[in-house]
Amino acid sequence: MKMFGKLAGGLYLVLLYLFVAGPLLFVIATSFNPATSFPARFEGLTLSWYAAILQRPEFLSAAGTSALVAALASTVAVLVAFLAAYALSRRSGGAGGRGAMATLLASPLLVPQVVISLAILQLASAWGVGTGFWGLVAAHAVYVMPFALRLILTGLARFDFAVEEASRSLGGGWLATWREVTLPLLRPSLVAGFTFCFILSFVNLPLSLFLTGPDTATLPIVMFAYIESRIDPMIAAVASLIVLAAGTATILLDRFLHVRLVD
């Protein structure tokens, strides 16, 4: 009976992992399949689809655009999230109504991305400016900020604010205190927040669909446009590379900063 329970538990775990990772594994497998359409039977192993990406400059430039948007949006998001989380977590002199404040700051999580995009479009037109590249960055920053906030709040919950006072009493001004004590101690959550935001922004389609112009095509947009016209395993190769990059970042974080993005 005990044996059966263990077996059932093990089987459940395997199925769960398959459910989560199965589609990814299928996409990765497809990227090595020489067949020219998919889904298709496996016909062997090839790297030609990866080589094919190099023939499509729009993918490379879109990846560059995505990376730039993600980097800028994540920087803004982490900065805003850090300042907000710091103010919310301080023992004395902190903002009142911190529960309500935290919920308000996390609200972009609850708003459909379509709505965020529409709101930014409306705002841009009301101000009479184009959305363009910076509109895209702003939308991404708004969307990813709550994720950074969550991670940084968790980091701050374990932070003993007395170390800041210790630093002050030892002669460190507030700038030196942040540089020497606060930021180094919060670095894991800041880096984790940035990485998480970067990944979320890099792979985001809905926001970009609304706000992208011809000069600001992000990678998901180009991929989306590509599969609208045809489906071949090259798109699986692109997807595999994204998975590889995100996976590597997650593992590096866990290894070197002991931060879990996925708990």
Partner: protein
């Protein structure tokens, strides 16, 4: 000379006054303990002295200079925190050298000062460790060394021993006192533990509800409490309420008269008599020399190791006598009859 003066310092938080018109002076080289129950304002007072809290009213001077508005990093005051607040990402040596690094001192000088500080707290050779690799007692010593390495004008300690176990706590009391004496540094320690305050301090400042109750040498605080609060807070006491009949005489509601001492109490005033438990005598023979003596019955015996507490019923009162656990003292069991008594000198009257 580093003399700290607080004049009429007040600090209000929303709804209550944490520190209420507090004035006190810590003399050069003196070790003062701020003692009081939790919420009495002692930690807020310490934080105001350190510069972590501002005073809503009043003035602080150190060395004769006004420091009321000076930020903490300009005060040259060393602080030992209850949680130690060591920098977990820095080694012991980096922790201790932090204050000197902030002052831009050359590396060689910092290294030398760190060595000296480590030797002072007897942690030689542990400079390369990280705080998490140290025991609680060692972390405590590092926190002390770090605060002292800047050669502060004043050393503040906030409940520094409360996270240590009993034996280590006794040891660190002696150690902190030794270091304070050897450096001749002016020090203020906050504690809720009266035996800690009595054992360590040159003078004890007892606080209650944000106000200073009494500031005096330990023996005076214990033997001659200035207020009913101090009388009841320090040591273990029997308290009896009644009305003053004449100078040195109190009548309890049941008609019992007590002889005691209380200055400035007018006849008819409500007052509380206080007598420390160990100043009560319990004997089988009548203590003829004592003005306050009553036949009693032992109701309860509490064995405390070094002493034995007897709760006795006498003249309708419940009184506790604390007797040394020593062959020279008579032993009783519940139900025994005897006499309980105390002198007028040990019985203090306080206005209510």
């Amino acid at each position: 000379m580093p003399e700290l003066v607080l004049s009429h310092v007040t600090r209000r938080f929303s709804g209550h006054t944490a520190v209420d018109d507090l004035s006190l002076t810590v003399r050069d080289g003196e070790f003062v303990c701020l003692l009081g129950p939790s919420g009495c304002g002692k930690t807020t007072t310490l934080r105001i002295i350190a510069g972590f809290e501002h005073a809503d009213a009043g003035r602080l001077t150190l060395d004769g200079a006004d420091i009321t508005r000076l930020p903490p990093e300009k005060r040259e005051i060393g602080v030992v925190f209850q949680s130690y607040a060591l920098f977990p990402h820095k080694t012991v040596a980096e922790n201790i050298g932090f204050g000197l690094k902030m002052r831009g001192r050359p590396k060689g000088e910092i290294a030398k000062a760190v060595e000296e500080a480590l030797a002072l707290v007897r942690l030689d050779g542990l400079g390369g460790r990280y705080p998490r690799a140290l025991s609680g007692g060692q972390q405590q010593r590092v926190a002390l060394a770090r605060a002292l390495a800047i050669r502060p004008r004043l050393l503040l300690m906030d409940e520094p021993l409360s996270n240590l176990d009993a034996q280590l706590r006794e040891e660190m009391r002696v150690e902190i006192r030794r270091i304070q004496q050897s450096l001749g540094i002016t020090a203020v320690l906050v504690t809720h533990d009266q035996s800690e305050a009595l054992a360590m301090a040159d003078r004890v400042a007892v606080m209650a509800k944000g106000r200073l109750q009494q500031m005096a040498a330990p023996a005076e605080i214990y033997e001659a409490p200035a207020t009913a609060f101090v009388g009841g807070f320090i040591g273990q006491v029997n308290a009896l309420e009644g009305r003053v009949e004449s100078d040195g005489l109190l009548v309890l509601p049941n008609g019992t008269r007590l002889a005691g001492q209380g200055a400035g109490l007018l006849p008819g005033a409500a007052a509380r008599a206080m007598v420390k438990q160990e100043r009560l005598s319990l004997s089988r023979a009548e203590p003829a020399a004592m003005p306050n003596r009553f036949p009693c019955r032992v109701a309860e015996r509490i064995y405390l190791g070094g002493s034995i507490a007897y709760r006795c019923e006498a003249a309708g009162l419940s009184l506790t006598a604390l007797l040394p656990n020593h062959p020279l003292f008579e032993q009783f069991v519940p139900g025994d009859e005897g006499w309980i008594g105390w002198s007028a000198a040990d019985c203090a009257f306080f206005p209510l």
